[in-house]
């Protein structure tokens, strides 16, 4: 049977655990995870850069894995655990990566930083990068137009050295 275009969006129910909090939501299925976070839940730490999966500013962790939240429909992740930059700091103390980014001056304008830090958290969890070269390659999905790459790599190395 051929489907035809809907004139009004239909709502789909989805349940997500975002930074430890349960959310039961009814969503237009076109809602990306990025727009859900920013526009529906006021979690504006996650940034919208290109909205096409090319810049990495929207990087969040889904079930511990880093992904581009701009290229996911939120309704596809029913039951998933989402961690954003707001959820990294435990009990008011900075996450080691947040502290390392400050220590190393690993940003200038800061717009890419939440994505960089979430991506770096995913990178460390993957455990594949050992050298600066490997960090650079596996962080290539996060663009920094200020060009703070050298310090970003140093910040990540500081945390990797600890963990």
């Amino acid at each position: 049977m051929t489907s035809t275009s809907l004139t009004t969006p239909e709502a789909v129910s989805v349940s997500l655990i975002i930074n430890g909090a349960h959310h039961a939501l009814m969503l237009d299925p076109r809602t990306t995870l990025l727009d859900l976070l920013r526009e529906h839940l006021d979690l504006t730490g996650t940034k919208k850069g290109c909205d096409q999966g090319q810049c990495g500013a929207c990087t969040v962790l889904i079930d511990g894995r880093r992904v581009n939240s701009c290229l996911t429909f939120a309704v596809m992740y029913d039951g998933a655990q989402i961690t954003t930059i707001e959820g990294l700091a435990a009990k008011g103390a900075l996450h080691p990566l947040q502290q390392a980014f400050i220590d190393h001056d690993a940003f200038q304008c800061g717009y890419c930083t939440p994505g960089q830090i979430c991506s770096a958290a995913g990178l460390i969890a993957e455990g594949r990068a050992k050298t600066a070269e490997e960090i650079r390659e596996l962080m290539s999905g996060n663009i920094c137009r200020c060009g703070a790459y050298t310090n970003i790599v140093a910040a990540i190395q500081q945390v990797m050295g600890r963990s």
């Binding site: 809907l6 581009n68 996911t72 050298t131 390659e137 596996l138 290539s140």
Partner: protein, 338 residues
């Protein structure tokens, strides 16, 4: 993006049933290409069937000694799978050469085969494109065609297939297992993607309503003498200008079997039996590699901005064959080409 009905499929049969007879329906899994294209209004499905719950996430040994890779195995999980790293390192390397880690964490095996060209005219709905809108014309042939095909193009389309993974799968002679309303079938990798001809809107020979359920790689993995060499405009996270996947079987210095596939030069991963015949029984040296490259590129055709790719391809083939013969495959983190 237009409105669409969203549906979840529980198993393969349910997915096939839900898409049957609906030309406006699409499956979504990783979403990394489809959602992008929907945002651009290039893809306008009125029904989107979420197949992420299907039980197609295993990598298993086959009785024949190969591997069966479920269609929903994510790119990173495949590249880092111990059996792939050990027996099919060219596949692992090609996967790691493509996209970014975030995208590889989302993108699936089946979806990689189904991704569309990154021709900018295909993406730009204000321009003519026979792939997006049949018979509207091709803007690339007389336009900005630096990234476009040098082999197998037609007057209707000179788009390239963007995948890295598929180049390795073509070299490995993978098989694509699909399921549809009329049953299951197996498609040889060489027959899966099409040349544009006068129907560039069709990228693959998958029939309407069929779903990829697995990709099978045969036992021969060329784990000793292989490489995946990718040349691009920046060192990481860019589509290839030219890429080459190589697998060699050597007897001393003599090539017993040599296979090589090129990416980003045609509408599908490009292999040429005549070029590979030029390797067989020959010494693994620069003269042999240059001859094989010349055979493969004999009908190459450049356009205003991409003629450089013919010479680039020639050099990439020679370099990749050299890397494979020496057993020094291209590293995907160190970008130094040796």
């Amino acid at each position: 993006m237009i409105n669409f009905h969203y549906a979840r499929a529980n198993d393969v049969r349910d997915a096939v049933r839900q898409i049957a007879g609906d030309p406006n329906a699409k499956f979504v899994a990783g979403g990394t290409n489809l959602i992008d294209l929907m945002k651009m209004d290039v893809e306008r499905p009125t029904k989107v069937i979420d197949i992420t719950r299907l039980p197609l996430k295993q990598v298993e040994n086959t009785p024949a000694g190969g591997l069966r890779i479920g269609a929903l195995v994510r790119n990173t999980d495949l590249a880092y799978h111990p059996l792939v790293e050990e027996r099919y390192p060219v596949l692992a390397s090609a996967i790691m050469a493509g996209a970014s880690q975030q995208l590889r964490n989302m993108a699936t095996t089946g979806g990689n085969l189904m991704q569309r060209t990154r021709c900018h005219y295909f993406y730009d709905t204000a321009t003519a494109c026979n792939k997006r809108e049949p018979t509207s014309g091709c803007s690339a042939i007389d336009g900005h065609n630096r990234m476009h095909a040098i082999l197998g193009g037609s007057d209707a389309c000179i788009a390239t297939h963007p995948s890295d993974m598929c180049v390795a799968l073509a070299m490995l002679e993978a098989k694509v297992h699909v399921s549809g309303a009329s049953g299951d079938r197996v498609i040889a990798f060489a027959d899966f993607h099409r040349l544009p001809g006068d129907t560039p809107q069709r990228d693959t020979n998958l029939n309407a309503g069929e779903i990829i359920i697995a990709v099978e790689v045969p036992p021969k993995g060329f784990a000793t003498n292989y490489t995946y060499l990718k040349i691009r405009d920046r060192l990481s996270y860019a589509f290839a200008l030219v890429s080459v996947a190589v697998g060699l079987e050597l007897d001393g210095d003599i090539i017993k079997e040599g296979r090589f596939a090129l990416g980003s030069v045609a509408h599908r991963p490009w292999r040429d039996p005549q070029a590979e015949a030029a390797l067989r029984g020959q010494p693994a040296n620069a003269a042999t590699f240059a001859r094989a490259a010349d055979v493969l590129l004999r009908d190459a055709k450049g356009y205003a901005h991409n003629t450089f790719k013919i010479d680039l391809a020639r050099r990439c083939i020679a370099r990749a064959l050299t890397q494979a013969a020496r057993g020094t495959p291209q590293s995907q983190s160190s970008k130094k080409i040796v």
